[in-house]
C-alpha cells in the first residue's frame, strides 16, 4: 500500500511569488490534515478535510493560504503571495474516517518551503 506522498519535496521561491504544495493521501483515507513546522518551533495544525469538505481550518495563518481537496482525493495548499515567515516544512497526514486502529495519522515526507 502506498503511503502519503507530497510534492515537491523542496521549494525555494522569492517573497511575493506563489507556491502550490500537493498531498496525495493513502487511498481510501477520508481524513486529510495539513501541518506546518517553522524552524525552531513545534509542528502546528493548519487544517483538516473530511473528504472534500473543510472540517476545521482554524490553524490557517491568514488568507494568503488556500487549501483545496477537489473530489475528496488529493489536496493542494497554495500560498499567495509568499512571505518570509511562511518558510518551514509542510506536512500532510491522512487517516481513515472509521478505524478499529484508533486515530493514527499517517504522515507524508513533508515539503520544505524556503521563501527568500
Amino acid at each position: 500500500e502506498a503511503g502519503v506522498t507530497q510534492f515537491p519535496s523542496h521549494s525555494v521561491i522569492e517573497k511575493g511569488q506563489t507556491v502550490t504544495l500537493r498531498c496525495d493521501p493513502i487511498s481510501g483515507h477520508d481524513n486529510l490534515y495539513w501541518y506546518r513546522r517553522v524552524m525552531g518551533k513545534e509542528i502546528k495544525f493548519l487544517l483538516h478535510f473530511v473528504k472534500e469538505s473543510k472540517q476545521d481550518e482554524s490553524g490557517m495563518p491568514n488568507n494568503r493560504f488556500l487549501a483545496e481537496r477537489t473530489g475528496g482525493t488529493y489536496s493542494t495548499l497554495k500560498v499567495q503571495p509568499a512571505e518570509l515567515e511562511d518558510s518551514g516544512v509542510y506536512f500532510c497526514a491522512s487517516s481513515p474516517l472509521v478505524s478499529n486502529q484508533g486515530y493514527e495519522q499517517f504522515f507524508g515526507p513533508g515539503t520544505r518551503l524556503t521563501v527568500l
Binding site: 501541518y35 513545534e42 472540517q55 486515530y103
Partner: protein, 114 residues
C-alpha cells in the same frame, strides 16, 4: 486550549543507556496520546499510541510509554538505546471532539553516540 510540552529539546547519550523523554499535556477531558519519531531523512512515523485501557503502552523498536492521568503525563522510555535510535521524537495529543487534529510538543532531538 490544548497544549503539549516536552521536557527536553536535546538529549545525548551512549549506546545501551536508558532513555526517558518527558511529555505533559493540558486537557481535562479524554485525550488520545501519541509518540511519533522522525529518523534522519525520513518521514514522521508512529512509535506508539494510547487511547484507553492499560496505561502502559508498548510500541515498536522496544519503546514503551506510560500514561499517568493524575500527572497529565505520557513519558516515553526505552531501557537500552542503540545508535539507530538517533532521531527526533514528538509527543502529540488529540481529542475526537476536535476532529482528532494533533497538538504536538516541541520535539526532542536524541543523539545516541556509538
Amino acid at each position: 486550549a490544548q497544549s503539549v510540552s516536552q521536557h527536553n529539546h536535546h538529549v545525548i547519550l551512549s549506546e545501551a543507556a536508558s532513555l526517558e523523554l518527558g511529555c505533559n499535556y493540558s486537557y481535562g477531558g479524554t485525550v488520545n496520546l501519541f509518540w511519533y519519531v522522525q529518523y534522519p531523512g525520513q518521514h514522521l512515523q508512529l512509535l506508539l499510541k494510547y487511547f484507553s485501557g492499560d496505561p502502559l503502552v508498548k510500541g515498536i523498536k522496544g519503546f514503551e510509554a506510560e500514561f499517568i492521568k493524575s500527572k497529565f503525563s505520557f513519558n516515553l522510555r526505552k531501557p537500552s538505546v542503540q545508535w539507530s535510535d538517533t532521531a527526533e521524537y514528538f509527543c502529540a495529543a488529540s481529542i475526537k471532539a476536535a476532529g482528532n487534529k494533533l497538538t504536538f510538543g516541541g520535539g526532542t532531538r536524541v543523539l545516541v553516540k556509538p
